[in-house]
């Protein structure tokens, strides 16, 4: 158990999108927390609500069509949803910053790398231009960009995808945020470049108290990089555990399905697969959203199972009727 309260504590968050004829609840009553200096992974398939969760924390959801229907997002015990836009502006970049999946589109093409990192520093630290340039060079060194003196005056199009992502990381850590949100930071990159970026993030993590909220669909990255993990399906957290516990003893039928569908070493055997597909978020099935695909579904699954403790030590939670009192487990 951590001695300090969690840095980030999301309670019962519901974020929805309202368009002409449909309402999509992208995030449906999510509870999660990120402790000080830990890396929490959110893993799940496309459209399950990972990015909307992240964007909700920073209040970067455009409203309308977006809407917060319920919940609190407590950061250092303060509810971010109750802050004014001006107060929120101070939180972004200073206390919480974010790196996005597409390094190609998240840098401004008409400003140099140095301008863009410098701006982050000036905006949040009231530094002078000369100080900002000095700090920018240090940051470029820190994120291991070769020949920073040349790179600082180049434009984004002159950099490779991996280098752009390093620049994004430099901007994100410029003001030493307490929480870094990384939304699929390596998905657009090649394997060897992904490897470089993950190793960079690991070393930054080691030298600071920074917490990381890592969003990914890659279970290998979760296993190698995170301390704890939340599995998300159709807008809900269905399982929460330490990384070791999740990979050793996956409980939710969806998590088990995901792990079983990974290619294994004995290439002779067939892969196990989950039948069907993720439901459309505007037409979710009643109760447990996984039930149309679940081999273990029973009549009770027409109702929503709560996320509850599955171990005495309170280290592993699961939302599935199999593990409720009277349930048999798997």
């Amino acid at each position: 158990m951590p001695t300090r309260p969690p840095l980030l504590h999301i309670e019962n968050l519901t974020t929805s999108f309202h368009t002409n004829d449909t309402v999509v609840q992208a995030v449906r009553g999510v509870n999660l927390h990120v402790n000080q200096a830990e890396t929490l992974a959110i893993v799940g398939e496309s459209g399950c609500g990972k990015s909307v969760t992240a964007l909700s924390i920073l209040r970067l959801i455009s409203m309308p069509p977006g809407r917060f229907d319920s919940g609190q997002i407590k950061f250092n015990n303060q509810d971010l949803l109750s802050l004014s836009e001006a107060e929120m502006q101070k939180v972004r970049g200073n206390d919480i910053s974010m790196i996005f999946q597409e390094p190609m589109t998240s840098l401004n093409p008409i400003f140099t790398i140095g301008d863009q990192i410098g701006e982050a520093i000036i905006q949040h630290q009231s530094a002078t231009g000369a100080e900002a340039r000095k700090q920018t060079l240090e940051l470029l060194q820190k994120v291991l960009i070769p020949s920073p003196e040349t790179r600082i005056d180049q434009y984004p199009h002159e950099l490779s995808g991996g280098m752009k992502q390093r620049v994004m990381i430099a901007i994100a850590i410029a003001c030493r945020p307490a929480l870094l949100i990384a939304d699929e930071p390596t998905t657009a990159l090649d394997v060897t470049i992904q490897d470089q970026i993950l190793s960079l993030l690991s070393s930054l993590k080691k030298d600071s108290e920074m917490s990381i909220l890592l969003i990914t669909h890659n279970l290998g990255i979760v296993a190698q990089f995170a301390d704890r993990v939340n599995v998300m399906y159709s807008g809900k957290i269905v399982e929460e555990a330490s990384v070791d516990s999740l990979f050793e003893n996956p409980m939710h039928p969806y998590t088990r399905g995901l792990l079983n569908s990974l290619p294994k070493d004995d290439s002779e055997s067939k892969l196990e697969s989950i039948s069907g597909a993720v439901p459309h978020p505007a037409f979710l099935p009643e109760g447990c959203a996984f039930h149309p695909r679940c081999k273990d579904a029973m009549p009770r699954c027409q109702q929503q199972p709560p996320l509850t403790n599955a171990t005495k030590e309170n280290t592993h939670k699961v939302a599935c009727w199999l593990y409720e009192e009277g349930g048999e487990g798997l």
Binding site: S199, G220, L258, S261, L262, S267, A277
Partner: protein
């Protein structure tokens, strides 16, 4: 086993014009001297980072792109020397499945037409028996009959990929290029498609060139694996051997870079430094020398040539030759 596809010294150079007034042209050496064989009923995995030439090689191998030079034999016939009727007869025997299940299907056609059209064109079906033939193939790839009259936008990524597979298989190909067929799909759907491809391949004894950047998928599916870097094949070996005894420094780096799904198996390797160089201006000597932890002076000037380490295990690196 006997060879079905034989590729010899294949090259594809794309001219790149710098601005439309400039007379300067550069060339991208997308594929730069590749020789490969694929046996009957063999799945050959082709791995490498983006831009290394996998798609270009795959498309040339079924005559969708004309090579700059080199030879491609299909069942002993040099397809680059065939006339149009000869090519048309060969067309159905060589098919491709694309990465993007969204872009590769005509949005205005029903599933029946998408799957059936090619069969009609190649005389493998007539109006009278089209529906029953399409039904049969849809069953084979696990698509419900009720999809017949619906349009691509009504389907999920996995279902669209099944439609693409059905279209390719409807012509009874003997050689199939799968260009990143599961990369755009979610993990739980990937397994469905991989199983389907494996099953169909075993049943019909098709030869497959399976292109992917996901080493785990290739490891699971392919009998043999070829590793590509900047337009060249740097190592080929039976998949099991490649994963246990990779010889080329690039193959080893790729394998080490792959995050293990076992949290206890932490790897403390040093990541490969630097970026993949541009194919517009590949480094002299061994293309990999700018990133290779074992590069020597010789590697900077002299290109290594393929060297056979063992039967079916070939490597292109000075360390071995």
């Amino acid at each position: 086993m006997t060879t079905l596809i034989s590729i010899r010294s294949l090259k594809k150079y794309f001219p790149i014009h710098e601005g439309f007034l400039s007379k300067n042209t550069k060339t991208v050496k997308a594929v730069d001297g590749v020789s490969l064989d694929i046996d009957r009923g063999e799945i050959l995995g082709l791995v490498g980072e983006s831009g290394c030439g996998k798609t270009t090689l795959g498309r040339m191998s079924i005559n969708l792109i004309k090579p700059t030079s080199g030879e491609i034999f299909f069942d002993g016939v040099d397809i680059l020397k065939l006339d149009n009727p000869g090519l048309k007869a060969l067309r159905p025997k060589m098919q491709i499945i694309f990465q993007d299940p969204f872009g590769s299907l005509n949005p205005r056609f029903t599933v029946e037409r998408i799957i059936g059209e090619a069969m009609m064109v190649h005389g493998l079906a007539e109006r009278s028996n089209l529906r029953s033939k399409v039904t049969e193939i849809m069953q084979k790839v696990g698509l419900p009959n009720s999809f017949m009259n619906r349009y691509p936008h009504e389907f999920s990524g996995g279902q669209r990929q099944r439609i693409g597979i059905a279209r390719a298989l409807s012509l009874h190909p003997r050689y199939l290029v799968c260009d990143e067929p599961v990369s755009a799909l979610d993990v739980s759907i990937q397994a469905q498609i991989i199983n389907l491809l494996q099953e169909l391949q075993e049943k019909e004894n098709i030869s497959i060139l399976f292109i992917s950047h996901d080493l785990n998928v290739v490891k699971h599916l392919s009998h043999r694996t070829a590793v590509m870097y900047l337009g060249q094949i740097v190592e080929t070996a039976p998949t099991k051997i490649l994963n246990k005894n990779a010889a080329h420094p690039y193959t080893r780096a790729l394998l080490a870079a792959k995050p293990s799904t076992n949290p206890k198996e932490s790897s403390d390797h040093v990541p490969l430094s630097g970026d993949v160089p541009s194919p517009l201006n590949p480094p002299a000597g061994c293309h990999f020398h700018t990133r290779c932890p074992e590069a020597s002076d010789r590697c900077k000037t002299e290109q290594p040539t393929p060297f056979q380490l063992e039967e079916r295990h070939t490597v292109q690196c000075h360390l071995y030759n």
